[in-house]
Symmetry: C2
């Protein structure tokens, strides 16, 4: 697929552009410029124009971008013009917070199953979910055809659970455990790690 | 400062290298190569060599990198060879999870104060912390000289709380609210947003 040749670093910026665009759209704004968008997201206007030009012609010199149109195009490009079912594995504090998180609405995702291996948690409710036994996880994910998982288990368990998720057919893992994971080629992996976010700021502090 | 001229995108990769290096170090490994490190973090070996060369000569052709040395250098570069005090504002589910999170140990951060504006939460305990009244936040942060904050309030409150944090002297904000924030020049901002992490993967899914 030709679109896969676009550098991953560009793909990584598109969700940030989309978030900013939806923010100003929600405030009633209808058009924007690469300058304005750039200031919102901390990227140069030239970089934004270059990134977006990879996917077609979205703006006009002088009149800027129609926000609704650009939002629709970005949702389509990122394939979040649909809703992806997501499993959350690990119902400790972070898993609880994610199971009850309201921020996925309208962003392309919905949590549909949550798992843990702790007998004290299995069959308990978290938000609208009943925590399921991790022993049935591989089969349940496979049967439901779910491709996206969030991993919120302790670091010591993260690799073995990731292996099970891959076995179950998961193709994209968002890992909250503060540990580097190995996944086979063809499985995508992203990290949510507050320490790395903080460290890239402390570099600039005195 | 000359070091500030290094592109932000490179600085952003250093914490990821550091996390991976500490991982293999904890497993007893003493040396590594740009190839091995690259495979762990999903960056080309050439890019890793180029990134690290910005800061000096850390490896030798043929023998690779001494992990302990490189870890020490990266901690120094990122200024996490010290421990930064951090405040967490917003003691909902996510704030609770962060206040009790064990992942900051040895990564350069420790949570020292947590705040909320909900009377039902103020003075309650979360982990080892007592939730403090957000009305005293600006003064408490200022008096303690804290520079780093994690923002876990609802999206609707995030900008006004960010403004207060800036007023209190905070220089680095890690924002968990799913909304773009504006901060003045000289204040750093990073986002923890699971939807963007998921969206940069769904691009590649069918």
């Amino acid at each position: 697929m030709a679109e896969k040749e676009i550098p991953n670093v560009i793909i990584g910026r598109l969700p940030v552009y989309l978030r900013a665009l939806r923010h100003i759209q929600a405030q009633g704004q209808q058009t924007t410029s690469s300058q304005e968008l750039g200031e919102m997201v901390g990227v140069s206007a030239a970089q934004i124009r270059k990134d977006l030009s990879q996917f077609g012609e979205f703006g006009k010199q002088g009149t800027g971008y129609n926000i609704a149109f650009l939002v629709d195009k970005l949702r389509e490009i990122l394939k979040v013009d649909r809703v992806w079912d997501v499993v959350v594995v690990g119902m400790g504090d972070m898993g609880h917070a994610i199971a009850r998180y309201q921020g996925f609405a309208n962003r392309g995702f919905r949590v549909v199953m949550v798992f843990d291996n702790n007998p004290a948690l299995i069959d308990q409710k978290v938000g609208e979910f009943v925590i399921r036994d991790a022993r049935v996880m591989v089969r349940a994910i496979h049967e439901a055809g779910i491709k996206v998982a969030m991993l919120t288990v302790p670091a010591s368990a993260a690799q073995s659970v990731a292996n099970q998720l891959v076995e179950a057919g998961i193709k994209a893992i968002l890992n909250y455990a503060p540990i580097s994971l190995n996944v086979p080629h063809g499985v995508l992996l992203q990290y949510i790690d507050p320490s790395t976010g903080l460290q890239r700021m402390t570099y600039y502090l005195d």
